[in-house]
Amino acid sequence: MKEEQSKEKAKKFGMVIDLDKCTGCGACMVACMSENNVPFKEDESNKLDSITWLKVYKLTNGKPFPDADICYLPRPCQHCGGKGDHGHSPCVSVCPATATDYSKETGIVSQIYTRCFGCRYCMAACPYHARYFNWWDPVWPEGMEKYLNPNVSVRMRGIVEKCSFCFHRYQIAMDKAYYEDREELEENEYQTACAQACPAKAITFGDLNNPGHAVYELKKDKNAFRLLERLQTNPKVYYLSSREWVRRAGDNYLKDEKK
């Protein structure tokens, strides 16, 4: 009975990103880094060891002019539910020290920085490259430490980090709701930094289980797809695109295979 109740109340926070609206401006990336105290290097030219919780990819259809087309694809952590949506996402199931966890209450995949010992097995398991290792201790330009977000802990060298769907914002919103004797949040009370920063309103965030939230209907759009659905990772980030080649770029297909 108790389990049924908690299932009814269970939220499944997720995103719907309209790729036809995304201009690739990168405001979401900047907002994410600023909000989450994401460290950066003096020289950021090597992207293979820099941390970008939200990374904007540039996709091309590979055709010459005049058929050439591009698409920008923001990729946060996909907060996979795993096969059957049981919470066995690729990374959670492999972490040997339970340093990453799947919340059945929110559907968010968390990262416990103080428990991670940096084996990087989760990074090997994630097909989206959404997990990043702190190869260095964070060094902030002089004075910048005063601008760090006090609600998000900074991370030390030698551990893995990733997008948390701005979980600290959820905690703050829930605290406020509790203070006001409420159990539920309004849709706009918990929004991620990237969704709020997007000038084109390409990113919509909310509870995928809640019919009152915009994402509930958006995810059912005929142009909606998720990345690498065939792997049964069951991501909570949906993408919209009216362009067939973009939707097809979301997954791998055998040659001559019809979608």
Partner: protein, 412 residues
Amino acid sequence: MDSALIPKGVKRCPTWQFALWIGAAGAVLLWGVIAMLLIWFKGLNQTNMNDSYGFALWIWADLAVIALGGGAFFTGFLRYIVGKDELKNIINYAVLIGFICYSSALLILAIDIGQPLRGWFIFWHANVHSMLTEVAFCLTCYFGVLTIEYVPLILENRQIDKVPFFHRLGHNMHEIMAVFAATGAFLSFFHQGSLGGVSGVLFGRPFAFREGIFIWPWTFFLFTWSAAACGPCFTILITKITEKITGKKLVKQNVIELLAKISGWMIGTYIIAKIIDTWYWAKVTAPAAGFNLMDFYSNNPFYGIWILILEIVICGVVPALILITEKGRKSSAMLMTAIILAVLGACVNRWVMVLQVMAVPVLTFENWAMYYPSWQEVATTILPVAYGVILISLSYRYLPVFPQEQELNPET
């Protein structure tokens, strides 16, 4: 100078020569230790790993030495459980090699983790769903077993053996060694398998993912099987190298041939299973994820189909065919070729299941990730080799490692 420590009835090189040898190995060891300290104090930024290559040279080295160290558990299993009595003449060396391999693996793991001081979290906050948890527990336990198996040999040192307590302790430990051999075989089955499971369970990585039975992907069984098959070849290879360096015959040919024969049949059956696994993966598992076999072996500067042929045919089928035929085992050149190929085969398999897994792009808009190790990674990988050379040299000089040495090399 150290003649009182050298076993009776055998000849060893002069102390100065031995000291020079140890000094040379020690210099290499020191190089590795410097790299290790750099990594511990400055962090993993000393490596060439990156966010696409979270697992790299070290994890390969770990998997490879554990597979090759499998000679210890399998030879112990054959000697004490199956009852192949001739193998008593090589079991000491198999145990010593296993001890070196497993202690090296643990050391490499300690270097490989980003927060070494939190290494114990794997036991304290253990996630029972993780293959790495199983690896950590079984590996540590089995290292304990190997230590117990190695201790009686140390106690046989001439001077230590003079102490009545140690003499009796060594004798009694020998008496119950079958229990530890059985425990070792049991633990090894699981950790060798779990190491295969490490990549096999990655359902987000179509190159690595395999189906299986219950929680165990097929790689679980293939890794155990290949370790049992190729581990004894490594024991033979190191024995042959030791014989070459010392200029002595240390183990009778019938013992080598028996182990080689068993190894040959193990490799043969393993490679049949591996071919079936590869075929099913290429035809069913990978296509279900949208990949053709050649997608994994093209459009990149290194990983061509040659690596699959090298692993399965050249380093699998060929050594199996040589070792299962009497003619192949009797020919010294053929035997050496076969055991080198078998050892190489296990190493290539582990390389593929670690590094190629990381290299293959999964998102359609990403490219192949290439990697080469930094000198710090190379030095820390060679470190265990130098450590192994030193421990083998010390053991060979001061302990009766080879029971047949005296008989094969009578003092004139």
